[in-house]
Symmetry: C2
DNA sequence: ACATAAAATGTTAGCGCTAACATTTGGGGT
DNA sequence: ACCCCAAATGTTAGCGCTAACATTTTATGT
């Protein structure tokens, strides 16, 4: 009845194994393994025979078996709040671009901005015994920290730095500093009623706001009235709603710092609809300097964050540690840059 | 000298194993395994002892060993052109939201829109022996197809459908149909000189253009003069450049279909800078209906594509096949919707 | 031709887990 | 007290690969 090849092996889907190749060529499995993993240790004659057989039989190595035997997985885990956020797509690209040539697989997990999910996710990720882990933020629960410490693998915490000591390594920027920078810029521009709108108010957004308010306070401005934030997910649409709301309650506002560029785009569009001149009647500033920020009208004054570099630098640190190479600095602040454009 | 716990085992990082827990409690490893994987098979008394020990010792199961023993990985692989593209972030979210509750890990690979990379990536992914695979597009090289067929796992091809037969399952939309739909809409609106600009002209973009041109031809319009495309990566900035270029060479153009919303945003911004009234002097249309498209001024006429649904539906098909559940339709067209807004 | 090192290949065992079967234990029912 | 069956637990072996050591083959110098 069946046309499927009947194997004598009790379990297994009948995939081609090293053993199969070895038997076919009348050599031992370890020679086949060596031909594939360290070809210089095998004579050319045998190596070529093996390579031919491998390609003819369509042999595909089994990573699980390799991992079990070597106690290495060639995988790193990445824990981020949201994969569908443009900010993190850039970070991820940086991670990929470093890991791919280093032959490291990347496993992602989304926390959806939930500390609780973070714990279970970390536990689940560790199940894969990754060779290293990249995790967003410095605020980890004690349980998460314990899990990570027990894993005894290199860890890089990314996105922010300076706020508290990392578990292991750290690559990021100072969000407090970045917020303060923008606050000081708007103060220097003589705006009188400076507001703040923000969505997805995670720890880093809160610190940006905190730095921002510090700058206003230092300048003797009372800013606490002009704050409107939500924990809801950030979007362009929400930016429009937030600015609409804050302008309704506080029409005197003449400048707004948006906690990210998406919110700022929405704010700009809404102001346009209300025929408000930017920046003459109201100034708008953003955060991150996404691709579109230089193109929108008016071009957006924002803070450029090294998203791609945070990912690539973190991945480089991991690769070095995995390869036991020396690392001179395990705590890296990549800095930010204020892009003064037309909107503020 | 050393404070590290010296294990008798020759290899291994000294992680806690099932065996360790079993020895501690004077029971067998398989009972511990059962307590964790099918608790109903173990008496409450023993189960509770095990659970306590597991949590105290910080035991984390080893997936590699489990995979090797069960010949299942609980992992699916996803092959997409680019992870940093907003379009795919939405698709990915759909995949995640289905796979996470089904306890399936997701492994990503980027082809960067290169067929050649696709082949090596597929080979590398199969190394992990995923339980299923989601792959972008219907155009796969013979080598890729052979690899996938040999793997003997469920496969879902996503993003497009109808163009050619899938290897296994298929979830997507008709890009030709979507392009034609937009062409017919602009024709019905009596535009006379209708152009097309596009970046990242992959297979699907080409088919959108093809459908679009078919609609124009059917209406007796000559469109081939008003086409400007590039293989360069799509971006808002590039949208501005493309429309600038095509308006320089063909100032008579009165409507432009952009191959995606990013390009359309850039085109809108550039037209604003040139003081061109949209849609009075020039109409702009996009593709995908990203979040911002309803907010931008003027709001963008575009084609809404079921990005999230393509991801979630594909993942659902995979989950069903992995669990051997019946599937009624293995080839699903999710359809598109033309969002007529102010820009065209 | 022969000793000797180096290169190539092989043997054995075990990584941590679970499938399949084997055995023991614990409740009823009479 | 006895049997019977089901529930609970254990034993054995093997998934596919590679580390570590063992052995064979080949090249090199004299």
């Amino acid at each position: 009845m069946s046309t499927a090849p009947t194997k004598t092996k009790s379990r297994g889907k009948g995939r081609v194994t090293l053993e199969d190749i070895a038997k076919l060529l009348n050599i031992s499995a370890i020679t086949v393994s060596r031909a594939l993993n360290s070809p210089e240790k095998v004579s050319d004659k045998v190596r070529i025979k093996i390579e031919t057989a491998v390609s003819e039989l369509g042999y595909i190595p089994n990573r699980a078996a390799k991992s079990l035997a070597t106690n290495r997985t060639n995988t790193i885990a990445v824990v981020i709040p949201s994969i569908s956020n443009t900010v993190f797509s850039n970070v991820i690209k940086g991670i990929y671009d470093v890991c791919t040539p280093a032959d490291l697989d990347v496993l992602f997990a989304n926390t959806y901005y939930s500390t609780q999910k973070e714990e279970s996710l970390i536990a689940k990720l560790l199940t894969q015994h990754p060779d290293g882990i990249i995790i967003t933020g410095l605020d980890l629960s004690d349980k998460s920290k314990k899990l990570l410490n027990n894993a005894a693998i290199p860890i890089v915490q990314i996105m922010e730095t300076g706020y508290k000591d990392p578990i292991d390594m750290n690559v990021g920027i100072s969000h407090f500093g970045a917020g303060k920078m923008m606050g000081e810029y708007l103060v220097a521009r003589k705006y009188q009623h400076i507001g703040f709108i923000g969505a997805q108010m995670d720890f880093r957004s809160q610190r940006r706001m905190s730095g921002f308010l510090t700058a206003l306070n230092n300048a003797g401005l009372e800013a606490t009235d002009y704050i409107l934030t939500t924990k809801a997910a950030s979007s362009v649409k929400l930016g429009g709603q937030l600015i609409a709301d804050i302008l309704t309650t506080h029409p005197q506002i003449d400048a707004v710092f948006c906690n990210n560029d998406d919110i700022a785009y929405g704010a700009i569009y809404e102001c346009q609809r209300r025929q408000l001149q930017i920046p003459q009647q109201i100034a708008i500033a953003g955060f991150n300097d996404l691709d579109a920020s230089a193109c929108i009208n008016p071009s957006l004054t924002t803070i450029k964050t090294p998203l791609y570099e945070m990912g690539s630098t973190a991945a480089q640190l991991l690769v070095k540690r995995i390869k036991n190479q020396p690392i001179d600095n395990t705590c890296i602040d990549l800095g930010v840059e204020l892009k003064a454009r037309d909107s503020a």
